[in-house]
Symmetry: D2
Subunit: 358 residues, 4 copies
């Protein structure tokens, strides 16, 4: 059986915003996906009608030949037939487009920020909160959709939330401080001008701190009836851009309801395997979180590709002078924190019966 | 009057550890100093007896010709005659050497960490705590010294403390978080290997977090009898190395005893001029702290040389979600945070009558 | 006499394309110019009518307050009254705009590539070829202009040509290779995306190699009647972009008509002072070329600001295995290789009587 | 059959200098090698007797567990039993140690420079010059060795030589100019201090240009009786260090005996498959050279891992203004240009019958 024959049996999926940096990451990660194949690529009017290879300034590695040959379609449900639709759209257009697709019966896995904080829209990290899918029924009923919309979190929120989940489950988080050092790939392409960031730090990323402060709570929240309720602790964030290509590093100080030593905290993280629903998803790494004991790790350049970019590495778990515990967490902003996270969410939709297997 | 004639009227000073990176910064900054001239350079046994130009791998700009011609002496009071002695020594040797000089009647302005936290040794930033010099009498009496020892703080502590001083005076600091992003020049030379830091973050600097946590309180402390008492608030620090050449960036979340708005905090910092004793020191910049309103500043590469490297730039003063106020402070680790700070301390010793003017 | 009173006596000049990266460098360099003051700033329709401070994303240091307050005018001779006009325009628009100004009696000192290679347009580096101004009479007559147009060379051509001039004068250049490693500031702002250049080399700069190959010959050419004739040697160029902020580094292998040793070559460069006409121009550095004997210099980050960015540093003068001599030359692409060069050209127009002194 | 059982059937090899940066690359690349397994690790006296994991500051990825547990032995034939010995030794010690091993009957594949230019020591790139192994008989006879010594070339020489081989075969190279931009990993660890190279170019690498100038000719040379004779063309080299992590970029201008167009040159490179003896070596990449038509490639960060770091990427093949053709070649300095090249040489020793297969 050739690669193409295998591919025909996989579930066809569409990528909206396929020509941009995030869209390209979707296409790279889906190249050899066991369940999905990229059947459709959609983008702005400007690109529609052109060959994908001609419409795209490809950034990394080689473009898969089958996708290169696809014709770019407009971002409308009429032009796209796939049931599963990945949205790599800019927030400027994602809002209405994603709703149109969900209304038209499609399962939208969105990386855009627009709908993340709606109480009936899951903000999914399958290992943490697969059970949040329960609000989809209410979402459909309330909004009159035949499809559904799920989202993944901001890249920094994702990296932070993974090691926070076992802490919240074991000890209860009461408050936290987070300072991020974020890679330039988080800004897309062309993104950050080299004159701004080479040998420099920019201590500001537009709109980033409020996202981190709101999303972490929702990721660790509970389903209450038809709505997801955020975990009730406060987060204060400092977001910085640093001259790193890939990988967001986060420094966290965390207050706990039940006091715990650094050893207990490390133990809780190491023992954690997360939700059963996530166990057999193809994108789930062998270990969603790895705790390193090297004193000067995690480091983005050296640890970012752990678990094919789906594992968050945690280090320097130590006592905090003010709250309870300090640590550093680092993970891939483009894979776990963006396209890879959305793909894993789609896998969960399949295993939970929302989308038919082929 | 030629440059050499002027130089003869200036106070001769010695630099201990003159061949290293910090020692070189002393020599660069003292090149055209109005009160001091480098008359003696001392270093390890290995360099002693050689011409300074031959013993030194000079790192930046041009070596001053008069210093180049000096013969390196050993680091002992017998070999060095200057009253004012700048210590750029490594902490491995600074401890005993500095004591030997102070005992021998010299005024040691040290950049080393060894004696910073002793209660009768001033940890000086003249604008903040010139009055801490008062403990020198006790220091001499207690230790039987005819000279004295003053220190400057760790580079990150210094950058943070300057804008904290007006806040502590106006509102009373009760607790704080600080996350630093520190330049490679802070590690000396050869320092950080390029393979370790290019395109990377190292979320650890040996011994740095405890220094920051202890020194900030002492810098903002009070004289109580014969001792300096640290300000009683807690500090929790996250120290990171980033691929920046010069300039340490610090993100701070600060709790205040008297609640204040970000506007009030900015106002307090902008209105602050610091201790009168510091007013006319040659190294005092026109403005010790500048508050920028540009949303994405301070940035190390662009703001580090403000006030010839003696001004700390503060930005992004905003409400904190957990404590009271957040902000970013950035300043030169090699100038204000090291050699420039020590030189300003020596200037204070002159104006306060500890060392005779020429 | 205040700074403003002095300024009123200086010659008013205009900067076309004032809001861009090169335009900003003109404004920074003219801030304290002894002869010129920026009286007018012109830019595209989009910016015209706005305050300069509001129309400009200022990149480095502080914007001069008097320029900040100017109203941006359109780039037409009707809207601009200054006799001396600096063109920092993009080549897409510079062609016609510069002609319009020259026709309207203005002295245009252009940094754009459009007219550089015309035989009646001087491509000026005053120390090398001040005598090329002689073709201006022919230029005016032939084109019916009452003003004139002079240009400065491409940044890499400029850095290379300065040390080549003494070699060509002393030994006669017959052929040369040049490989450049160019800073990102050469691409303007936003210029090179950080994702493209961090930790990378891009071995291509659009349109750059032909410019270097043609301009070096013209810079070292002679006036023959009404035309400048390029020096008749061949140049082959390899242009590369490297992750450096400022300073273009060039490696050259040079063939000579009269064979010379590396020592003789170094001697010729060190002895050279260039054309007398350039001697007293305010922007002429004390030494237009410095030969360093440090084995691993020139280096862009450490040598680029020599002579306030107007000095080219040359090193590693050694025998070539194929031609006669090899060397490395490095200089500022934004100052000597762009705005600073154009300002020096305008100074030459003043001392040579083309423009009246105030 | 488990990984360990497979490993027992593989040929045991030793790595000399195993704790350094190059030694570590050997161990990483040999991890899953189909024919070889690391059975012994040798290093300096300081490390001998310690567990490899304890004696080594491991730089990248995870240390193979079986190697971690090995005890480091001294670098003497008495302490090492493997027939195949990889030398990652510094040139300061490699000279005598390698001779001792060859005399003691071992097959030494050396990455050190010491013996590369001896006429009876092959300087091997199997695709180019597998036939140079013929001098081993003379080497043994002449030197009284029962083993043998083969070497791989300097990293830059290797990257350049691969695309030069088809040109030399097809058209005859008569002269060439090469400018390199070399990654910091080429300097080992700790190697280049970050303060020296961040945002900078160092236009000098000690001892590098003569190596490149001599080695390229030998790589493309012929066997004449008992000696390898270098190809008789002249090379002039400019070696530069740039802030790139991995991958050396080389710009070349090449003179040819039989004139050829850029299209013919590209065709010759693309058609070339190299020596038959290399065809089935496990480390031979599918394509030893790839010609890219992207105008701004090859780029180190984006192309260095092509063919698992064993493929050299060539681009920008174009007419030269002085000689015949210009091009850019880029390849991995740590893999093809060091450890990977040496491993492929050992594979050739096996297939050519010098070392018995298991």
């Amino acid at each position: 059986m050739t690669r193409n024959e295998i591919a025909r049996d996989r579930i066809p999926v569409a990528v909206l915003g396929a020509t941009g940096a995030v869209g390209q990451t979707f296409i790279r990660l889906l190249r050899d996906h066991p369940w999905f194949r990229v059947a459709e690529v959609a983008a702005s009017e400007r690109s529609a009608g052109r060959r994908y290879a001609d419409a795209t300034h490809w950034l990394e590695g080689e473009m898969p030949a089958d996708v290169a040959a696809l014709t770019v379609t407009p971002c409308t449900p009429d032009s796209v037939s796939s049931s599963i639709v990945f949205s790599a759209l800019d927030s400027g257009v994602a809002g209405e487009v994603e709703i149109a697709f969900a209304r038209a019966g499609r399962f939208v896995c969105s990386n855009a920020k627009n709908h993340r904080m709606l109480s009936d829209v899951p903000l999914l990290i399958p290992e943490i909160n697969a059970q949040h899918l329960a609000v989809i029924d209410a979402q459909r009923k309330h909004r009159g959709w035949t499809g559904a919309l799920v989202t993944n979190a901001n890249c920094s929120s994702t990296v932070a939330a993974l090691p926070l989940a076992p802490l919240h489950e074991a000890f209860g988080i009461t408050s936290m401080f987070i300072a991020t050092m974020q890679a330039v790939s988080g800004a897309g392409y062309p993104g950050v001008p080299s004159l701004d960031i080479m040998g420099n730090v920019i201590p500001y990323i537009a709109d980033e701190e409020p996202k981190i402060e709101a999303e972490i709570g929702k990721l660790l929240g509970v389903v209450n009836g038809n709505a997801i309720e955020s975990a009730p602790f406060r987060v204060t964030a400092h977001a910085n851009r640093v001259p790193v290509e890939h990988g967001h590093t986060t420094c966290m100080s965390i207050g706990l309801a039940s006091s715990a030593t650094p050893e207990q905290v490390a133990g809780a993280i190491m023992a954690w395997t997360g939700r059963d629903e996530a166990m057999d998803l193809p994108s789930r790494p062998h270990r969603p979180i790895v705790v390193t004991t090297e004193p000067d790790h995690p480091q983005p350049r050296r640890d970012v590709m752990r678990g094919n970019g789906m594992t968050v590495t945690v280090g320097r778990i130590r006592r905090d002078e003010l709250l309870d515990v300090r640590m550093v967490a680092m993970g891939s902003n483009t894979i776990r924190g963006a396209a890879g996270g959305a793909i894993m969410n789609a896998e969960l939709l399949v295993t939970q019966g929302y989308v038919a297997r082929p």
